[in-house]
Amino acid sequence: MTTTEEQEDRADALFHALADRTRRDILRRVLAGEHSVSTLARGYDMSFAAVQKHVAVLERAGLVSKRRSGREALASGEVEALRSVASMLTELESVWRGRIARIDDLLAGLADATNDAHHTIDTTDTHHPTQEKE
């Protein structure tokens, strides 16, 4: 059961880290490439210390790693750390939640706007919407 508890702790840290808009934005940037914390701090309307704190939360959740280069602290996205089975299943879970929400929207008739006209196939046993109108 320890494993499960560890997974729960990990999920808590992960969701806490991602529950903040600035942290998600920082994560997006550092996943794209290494950034110094001071460079990151310039992108936000908050103090260097506040940005540093956000980076620390991401670091504790295992989402970001830091290294020193001279006087600079460099942060990068920890893609490897995210690849534990538990965290991957958590990602899959969010994929499924999205899918279920889309089905629910379709059932409620809310998603007509997303019904793109990109469909090109013609399967034999499926009627086309146009046939109904004729």
């Binding site: 534990s84 089975v85 991957m88 899959l92 969010s94 994929v95 499924w96 279920i100 499926t126």
Partner: protein, 164 residues
Amino acid sequence: MPVTDITTNSDDRSIVVTCDFPAPVSRIWEFWTDPRQLERWFGPPGYPLTVTDHDLRPGGRVTYYMTSPEGQKFGGYWDVRSVEPTSRLAYVDGFADAEGNPAEDMPLGDTVVDFSEHEGGTRVSSTTVYGSAQDLQKVLDMGMAEGLTQAVGQLDEALVADAA
């Protein structure tokens, strides 16, 4: 909102999705088995899904591709194992190239979807088992969520949409 329960198990690398929909079983069955319906929910937002072949019978294959905002195509397929209208669908989910040819050395997800009447609506229970942790990693890297960056982006969009 549908009642949803999602259970993941790291030991056998499985994900079990259970959800209740306020519609008849025959209607919900269509979401999985009618290609036009499948296109509307299976792929992630911003990645329109196109079903290119739809041979939904044991031994048959369903192929599809998703188109990224940059126009890149990500192919996938289902190798259909069994179809029991309107109660059970079993297939192996895999990756394909843009033309729908199954990709070699790519992970497979063994999936069974059960549909049943439940309190005037439909209960769907979908179980997918992946062969290895590496498979699971590839699934996430290659396919649905396109890695964490996109997942975070979607989270943001959802929260923005909620706030609007």
